[in-house]
């Protein structure tokens, strides 16, 4: 089965990569549930002009620009395989008669009636005389033209003020005011083409345009006109190409920096090669997963690769470092040792990135999802692919550990504490100074961060806006109605409101196509009136001639009357839209049909650049503009970031508490993060950097990814008792390397073409640097200031808080009802989970086992972890014993026990001494079988109830308990019991009361002097024993009796030596079973000048 897994995986990955799409539509970066986003999307889908290519031409003279624009439009129109249609002007020039004739048809009947009266034979002469008078006196040049060429006033369509103003103020959508800038719109044959096809299409169009530019007839001196491409297709193609570039360049840059860091640290090619391959494999698998889960990448989420690599490389560095530190250790053990840390780190960091799903922006959400998937994938690839490939084929001796090059880093002197405190003050003062002077970094409300930074198409669009006078914020108005008449009704309701908003300064201007809106039912009603007007052609012609008008003045009137006559006589009547070039341009520009058949009219709203938001609009009207999105989006993102940050801070407090269990260290962790952010804010303020839609989410990201630095450094400080030099050498350097990789990951996107992504990653990289500065330089000195460098608190001097009466009784209840194997499984799983939360427990056990196995022993961590799991097994046996289920305990060897049996038979007092090796409590039933009721000397449990409960449980299987320390006469009872030939059991390696400093495994060790004292007092025979678990279950071993002369124990020194001797009898057993010597609190004396350890 396993051999099929790899091919299937590769196949799935390839299929995923095959279906991967790059989504270059900026609208897909926005939350679809926002009303304005939904409106923008509908606008994009419903109005073809929103999907057109715009070719802009800028020339020195208006003639050159117009000639070239016309030639480009004409030439492109000759490529029907590429182009659906082209436009270089509105077509109004050749459409005036048709347009105004049609406009009259849409008017209310009373307007036509008034026109009929004005043109009636008895009235028209007066009208013409008035027109002439106006023509003689008007100062307005447009009126001179209109009155001259339209003597009958057929262009004076009531309500067509927008059209009348067309020539006065409304910008030509295809030309700048001076004519030197022209626009050609090009509708692609396939507007829904994917981005690669769009890029190819654009190249072909560009080729055609280049050829046009080379034509000799268009070279009329002066500089060559500048041609640019913009609009939806150009932006989409350019954005997608930019994404591809971002993806490859950021990945390459990150890999290069990672390689550099790795080479500087390890100078080994083979692991470096596998590291690169592992990262690329992680990248490809994640990309494939992304394709399956998300369907593709967008401009923001394509930044996942470098961020993910910068974080995943930490896992590989940790694994490889572990391997180098323990060269003889088998791969499985290395993996077992590093797996919890890597998985824990991957889970927490992935969780932080997954929180981006709630940031409110789909682009960021996908970035977070992909990075999280990449982190989990990377953890798996590191553990099961990278480590096997860099592990040595044959184990090598521990001497190779010397090959690890010592890392030379500047190590702060102890006196650096004062310097670091001064640094803290300096940082705080700097922060207050800079922020006081320059203020907090601003939050920008614009939606610009969602756009490319350096984009020819966006620059062309900006130039177009400037040239056409669109310098303000533009929003589209979508006015809906069941039919055109309903839309017109909504126009009528909307316009007064907009006019009011204009007067109030809320908007600058608006354009509603009310005057040129089709009303088919009204047009049908008007046909008869139009026919009557058309029938007046000859009398009107006569009246015009009599009024002194030449033939020039008649053409327009004749044409309009002719159109009316045509519609009256044709079967189709008045067309829905003017049957002219202008009408064909105007119809899709101003109207659309929704999928449900309803009509949508499109208007335009201009608001001041300095004003945020849009006026309130009536029902049936929606407004949205890219430039107005920023505020709404920012409001949403700020709200989400606030919640996210709060949640993450709470999670951090929990994490820090679980890691430290001390509020001082929790507060130090939080304080260092707070100062790091203060530093980041200071740098941003000093450099003028601002917060925006995207980089705001750097706050929770930095918090989530940086908290482990504060944990690592403080745990290292604990481990090394505040020795800064050791902390630097171990954790400091590792953090430096990991931070370097993280900064490379984030920083490589600083050159991203997407402004928001670049700013997000710059802030993240800057945040990591700030965290590093504070955590490495200042946090240690704070910690030492609070705990003292040499009197650092002994870590974890207390047993687990889970060790209490309630939990114990629950476990006993479970032991009574659940089988041993099941309970053991649960217990082991529980222990693994506990160790994920409290990895320091393993460190502590490893510290305790150091002298047993040798400090440099590669097995130390593995044995420590096994020790913890064995303890889980021991607990099960203990619970079962106290639940009344007697375990089967074998005897280690028949002869081992002969002397003990003989002493019992002789009713000599016997002192059974043991250590915390295996499960000594299982000896109770064994002694009971021998008819012995031993007395166990025990320390009080963490709570009194538990002490009583455990004593009762022992009593139930024939063991008396004496809690030493609670009764000053306790030892009298013990001596009495021994003198009467009883059996007393006690533990040597955990002093009850004040211990004595002895030697054990060559190290200073605080042990219980009770055995020596009792021996001197009673002369009892002493038998060391222990019960450990092997493959078959518990087995009891009796060590040879320790003989002594009572007289030899006269002085304290002699008793101390005797205690050391007693302990030494267990050294071999402990060496054979280091995984069952259970101590989870420090046992080795670290400060010889201090007194004995308090009893535990």
């Amino acid at each position: 089965m396993r051999r099929w897994l790899l091919p299937i995986g590769i196949l799935l990955a390839l299929l995923g990569l095959f279906r991967l799409q790059l989504d270059s539509d900026p609208l897909n970066l926005l939350p679809a549930d926002l009303q304005s986003v939904s409106t923008l999307r509908q606008h994009q889908e419903l109005f073809p002009s929103a999907r057109e290519l715009l070719v802009t031409v800028k020339a020195e003279t208006a003639e050159t620009a117009a000639d070239l624009a016309k030639a480009i439009a004409t030439e492109l129109a000759r490529h029907p395989d590429l182009v659906e249609s082209t436009r270089w002007d509105t077509g109004f020039q050749e459409s005036i008669a048709e347009t105004f004739a049609w406009a009259w048809a849409q008017r209310p009947p009373e307007d036509l009636e008034a026109l009929g009266q004005r043109l009636a034979p008895g009235q028209v002469r007066d009208a013409l005389a008035t027109r002439r008078e106006q023509l003689a006196t008007t100062l307005d040049p447009t009126e001179i033209a209109r009155f001259g060429y339209d003597p009958l006033g057929l262009l004076d369509v009531p309500g067509l003020s927008g059209m009348a103003a067309l020539g006065r103020t409304q910008a030509d959508p295809f030309s700048s005011a001076d004519g030197t800038f022209r626009v050609v719109s090009v509708a692609p044959r396939n507007p829904a083409m994917p981005y690669r096809a769009a890029a190819d299409w654009l190249r072909q169009i560009s080729g055609v345009v280049d050829e046009v530019q080379q034509r000799p007839d268009l070279r009329n001196g002066g500089g060559a006109p500048a041609v640019a491409f913009t609009g939806y297709v150009a932006i989409m193609a350019e954005t997608a190409n930019g994404m591809e570039r971002d993806l490859t360049s950021s990945v390459s840059l990150t890999l290069a920096v990672i390689c550099l860091l790795f080479w500087v640290t390890h100078r080994s090619l083979k692991p470096l090669g596998w590291l690169v391959v592992s990262l690329l494999l992680t990248f490809l698998v994640t990309l494939s997963l992304g394709a399956w889960v998300l369907g593709g990448l967008n401009v923001i989420s394509c930044g996942f690769a470098s961020v993910m690599m910068g974080l995943v490389v930490d896992y590989a560095l940790v694994g490889y470092q572990e391997m180098r530190a323990h060269p003889g250790q088998p791969l499985r053990e290395i993996r077992t040792a590093v797996m919890p840390g890597i998985l824990w780190s991957a889970a927490t960091t992935a969780g932080t990135f997954l929180s981006l799903r709630f940031a409110g922006l789909p682009g960021l959400s996908e970035l977070g999802t992909l990075t999280a998937m990449g982190l989990v994938t990377g953890a798996g690839v590191t553990l099961f692919w990278f480590l096997p490939r860099v592990a040595p084929r044959t184990p090598v001796g521990s001497a190779t550990s010397a090959e690890v090059p010592p890392v030379q880093v500047p190590i702060p002197a102890p006196r650096a504490r004062a310097f670091a405190f001064a640094g803290t003050l300096a940082l705080v003062a700097l922060g207050f100074g800079v922020i006081g002077l320059k203020g907090w970094p601003r939050i920008e409300g614009a939606s610009d961060p969602l756009l490319p930074r350096h984009s020819a198409s966006h620059e062309a669009m900006e130039a177009l806006r400037q040239e056409l006078g669109r310098t303000h914020k533009t929003s589209w108005l979508l006015i809906r109605g069941a039919g055109p008449e309903a839309v017109q009704t909504n126009f009528a309701a909307l316009m007064p409101r907009l006019e009011h908003a204009r007067r109030a300064g809320e908007i600058l201007s608006f354009q509603i196509p009310a005057a040129l809106w089709p009303l088919p039912s009204q047009a049908r009603t008007n046909l008869q009136a139009l026919g009557q007007l058309a029938a007046q052609r000859e009398p009107l012609r006569t009246a015009l001639r009599e009024a002194g008008y030449g033939t020039n003045a008649l053409h327009l009137s004749e044409a309009i009357l002719g159109r009316w006559q045509h519609w009256v006589t044709s079967e189709d009547g008045v067309p829905t839209w003017p049957d002219s070039a202008f009408g064909r341009w105007m119809a899709p520009m101003t109207s659309a049909r929704a999928a449900d058949g309803s009509w949508i009219g499109r208007g335009v709203l201009e608001t001041p650049s300095t004003r945020e938001g849009l006026p309130t609009l009536p029902a049936g009207v929606e407004a949205a503009g890219w430039e107005n999105l920023g505020t709404e989006l920012l409001s949403r993102v700020v709200g989400r970031v606030r919640v996210l940050t709060t949640v993450i801070i709470l999670a951090l407090v929990v994490c820090l508490w679980l890691a430290f269990r001390r509020w001082t260290e929790v507060l130090l962790g939080l304080g260092s993060l707070a100062l790091s952010f203060g530093l980041l804010f200071t740098v941003m303020s000093a450099t003028g950097a601002t917060w925006n839609l995207l980089n705001l989410v750097a706050i929770p990201l930095i918090l989530g990814t940086s908290v482990d630095s504060t944990i690592h450094i403080q745990l290292a400080l604990r481990r090394h008792r505040g020795d800064l030099r050791s902390v630097w050498r171990s954790t400091g350097v590792a953090l430096l390397l990991c931070a370097g990789a993280n900064i490379a990951g984030f920083g490589s996107l600083a050159w991203s073409n997407n402004a928001g992504l670049a700013s997000l990653d710059i802030v993240c990289a800057g945040g990591v640097v700030c965290v590093l500065i504070v955590v490495l330089l200042l946090l240690p000195s704070w910690w030492i200031a609070l705990h003292g460098e040499t009197s650092a608190p002994e870590p974890q001097a207390r047993p687990s808080q889970l060790y209490g009466q309630r939990a114990w009784q629950m476990a006993i209840w479970l032991a009574r009802h659940v089988g041993r194997d099941s309970l053991a499984l649960v217990s082991r799983i529980g222990m693994r989970l506990y160790l994920m939360v409290r990895p320091d427990r393993v460190d502590q056990v490893a510290d305790n086992l150091g002298p047993v196995l040798g400090q440099e022993d590669a097995r130390l961590l593995r044995v420590a972890r096994t020790n913890c799991l064995q303890f889980a097994e021991k607990l099960v046996d203990l619970w079962r014993l106290e639940a009344g289920i007697r375990p089967e305990v074998r005897l280690g060897g028949e002869t081992e026990w002969d002397a003990f049996r003989e002493a019992i038979a002789a009713r000599q007092g016997v002192l059974l001494v043991t250590v915390h090796l295996g499960n000594w409590e299982l000896g109770g039933p064994l002694l009971k079988d021998l008819g012995i009721r031993p007395l166990v000397l025990s320390a009080a449990e963490p709570d009194a109830g538990l002490t009583t409960a455990r004593a009762q449980a022992r009593a139930s299987h024939g063991v008396d308990t004496l809690v030493v320390g609670s009764d000053p006469f306790a030892f009298v009872e013990v001596i009495q019991r021994l003198r009467e030939g009883g059996v007393v059991a006690l533990l040597l390696d955990r002093p009850v009361g004040t211990g004595v400093e002895t030697s054990f495994f060559g190290r200073s060790f605080v042990a219980s002097p009770a055995a020596a004292e009792l021996a001197r007092a009673t002369g009892a025979r002493i038998f060391p024993m222990y019960i450990v678990r092997d493959a078959l279950g518990p087995v009891a071993h009796a060590l040879p009796e320790v003989a002594y002369q009572r007289a030899d124990l006269a002085g304290p020194e002699r008793r101390l030596a005797f205690t050391s001797h007693l302990l030494a009898t267990f050294e071999d057993a402990i060496r054979r079973h280091p995984d069952q010597w259970f101590h989870f609190v420090p046992v080795w004396k670290s400060n010889p000048t201090s007194g004995g350890l308090p009893s535990a």
Partner: protein, 229 residues
């Protein structure tokens, strides 16, 4: 027909624009400086005029009379018709065109960034009263100078392309001796000409500032030309 539509289109600012000759340069600076010297010494100018409109659409020219006032540096008032049918008032950067019969007032902000053929052309109405050679040259170029019927005629071309769409040529007629203003003639895109001949000239006499103020009651319909309702 198509020619007519084309010309009409020009007036709506949506068509092509008329091709013009190249820059003449500073060949006529001597004449300009003499004119400018007179004009800059002008604190006020008041005259009556007879205006003749030779329009291509009419078989006969249209004639009207009017008055003009100018007050340095940038105030003027044109009245056409008697009683006035059209009044153009400029004060600073604001130009207001009044149509008393229609009770209509249109305001143009000449200093605004936006432009358009009508606005640009309106901005040239004071072209006959130059105050600074450099400033004047930014708005016009001299195409030719000739003398016709005892009048020194400067043929000018607006530099604004959009203004040229409506009025390719402006002719300013000066007294050859005093360089005082004698006539203006606007040549429109379709060849129509609007000629204003001045008489009863009075220069540097006090002009009431009220002449240049716009005082409208509620019966007037006002239009701000820079915005599009």
């Amino acid at each position: 027909m198509s020619r007519v539509l084309r010309i009409l289109t020009l007036f709506f600012g949506l068509g092509t624009w008329v091709s013009l000759g190249e820059e003449v340069g500073g060949r006529f600076d001597g004449v300009l400086r003499s004119w400018l010297a007179v004009s800059t010494n002008l604190t006020s100018f008041e005259a009556e005029f007879r205006q003749t409109r030779h329009l291509k659409v009419l078989t006969e020219p249209l004639a009207s009379t009017g008055r003009v006032w100018f007050s340095a540096p940038d105030q003027f008032r044109w009245e056409v018709g008697n009683p006035p049918q059209s009044i153009a008032l400029r004060s600073g950067e604001t130009l207001v065109v009044l149509s008393p019969r229609l009770r209509r007032a249109e305001t143009y902000s000449l200093g605004g960034a936006s432009s358009g053929p009508a606005k640009d052309l309106m901005g040239l109405l004071d072209g006959a009263f130059p105050r600074s050679l450099e400033e004047w040259k930014r708005r016009f170029e001299v195409v030719g100078v000739s003398t016709n019927q005892g009048v020194l005629q400067l043929e000018l071309r607006p530099r604004s392309a959009s203004a040229r769409k409506l009025m390719p040529t402006l002719v300013v007629g000066l007294d050859p001796g005093s360089h005082g203003l004698r006539l203006t003639e606007m040549v429109m895109a379709d060849g129509s000409r609007i000629r204003s001949e001045f008489h009863s000239l009075r220069t540097n006499v006090p002009v009431s500032s009220n002449l240049f103020q716009v005082q409208l009651d509620g019966s007037w319909k006002t239009t701000q030309n820079d915005v599009q309702p």
